[in-house]
Amino acid sequence: MVGLIGRLWNLQYKSIVKEASGKTLAVAKFFCILHVTNTYLCTFALAYGPSMIPTFNLTGDMFLAERLSIKFGKVGPGDIVLLRSPESPRKVMAKRLLGLESHSVTYVVDPMNSDRCDTIVVPKGHVWVEGDNIYNSRDSRQFGPVPYSLLEGKVFCKIWPPKEFGSLMKSGMKDPDL
C-alpha cells in the first residue's frame, strides 16, 4: 500500500518536474537570445541628463544603439556613441564623437566663463567625445581622450518620446523650422 502511494507520488512529481524544467528551458533560451542580441547586435537604452540637450531631453529619451559599427571600426566624427565612463566603470554615457585617433580637435575649454579654445591631437587608439550641451557636460574636455575600447555602441534611432521618433542626423543641431 505504501509502495503504491509512493509510486503514484513519484509519477506525479516526475511529470511536474518535467513540465517545469521544459518551461524554464524555453524561458532561458529566450533570455539567451535576447542577451546575445543586446550584446552583439542592437540594444535600446535610456539616457537622461543635461549633457546632450537638445538632441536628448533632460528627463530621458529612449533610443536604439547598434554594436556592430564599433566592432568593425565604422564610427566617425559626428556619430553619437555610447561609452563606458573612464571615471566610473559602471556608468555608460551617451556623447557625440568629435575626433578619432590622430585627428586634431579644437574645443572650448570653459564656455561658461571664457571663450578660450584649445587644440589637441587625439593620441593613437583613443577618441574625443563631447556632449552637445557643452555648458553642462562632463566629457573629454575634463577627462581627456578616451580609449577606443571603451566605446559600446553607436546610437542610430530615437524611439521615445514618440513625437521625436526618427533617425539621428549627424549634424546634431535640430532645425527648429522643420
Binding site: C32, R84, P86, K124, G125, H126, P147, L150
Partner: protein, 162 residues
C-alpha cells in the same frame, strides 16, 4: 515520380543537417558564454611578465567575474585591453588602484610619482626592462580590464598558483 522521391530524400537530409548544425551552434554558444563570463584559457606570450610568465607562451586561466564585481586589486595579474591598440589584449600586473600614489622609474636616474585618477588603474609588467605599460601610456580606465589571471598551466606539467 522520381522527382517526388528525390525531394523527400532531400528534405530528410536537410533536416538532419539542420539538427546537427543546431547542436554544434548550441555547443559554441555555451563555450562562448563560459569564455566571456566565467573562465577562459588564454595563451599569453612576450617578455613583459618574466619571470612570472614565459617568453614563448603560457596558457593561463583567466576568470571574468571579479572585474565585474569590483574585486580586482593591487597585485593581481589581469588581462586588459590595450589603450593604444584596441585589438590587442595585454597581460600585466595591477600595481595601483584609484587614489594610490605610484612611483616609477622613467629612466634609471629619474623617478616620477603620480596619483592614479578615479576610475583608473596603474598596470606594470613584472619585467620592467621590457614592458610597455602604464609608465608609457599612463593609467588605464578600469573598464578596459577583461579578466583576472588565477592559474598558469606550464609546459613542464607544473601547475603554479598565483
Amino acid at each position: 515520380m522520381r522527382l517526388l522521391s528525390y525531394m523527400g530524400q532531400w528534405k530528410s537530409a536537410a533536416k538532419e543537417v539542420l539538427d546537427r548544425t543546431a547542436i554544434v551552434a548550441k555547443f559554441l554558444c555555451l563555450l562562448h558564454v563560459t569564455n566571456n563570463y566565467l573562465c577562459s584559457p588564454t595563451l599569453v606570450y612576450g617578455p613583459s611578465m618574466l619571470p612570472t610568465l614565459n617568453l614563448t607562451g603560457d596558457v593561463v586561466l583567466a576568470e571574468h567575474v571579479s572585474h565585474r564585481i569590483g574585486k580586482v586589486g593591487t597585485g593581481d595579474v589581469v588581462l586588459v585591453r590595450s589603450p593604444v591598440d584596441p585589438r590587442r589584449i595585454l597581460t600585466k600586473r595591477v600595481v595601483g588602484m584609484e587614489g594610490d600614489t605610484v612611483s616609477f622609474y622613467v629612466d634609471p636616474m629619474y623617478s616620477q610619482t603620480t596619483v592614479v585618477p578615479k576610475g583608473h588603474v596603474w598596470i606594470q609588467g613584472d619585467n620592467t626592462y621590457a614592458s610597455s605599460d602604464s609608465r608609457h601610456f599612463g593609467s588605464v580606465p578600469y573598464g578596459l580590464i577583461q579578466g583576472k589571471v588565477f592559474f598558469r598551466e606550464s609546459n613542464e606539467l607544473r601547475i603554479t598558483r598565483f
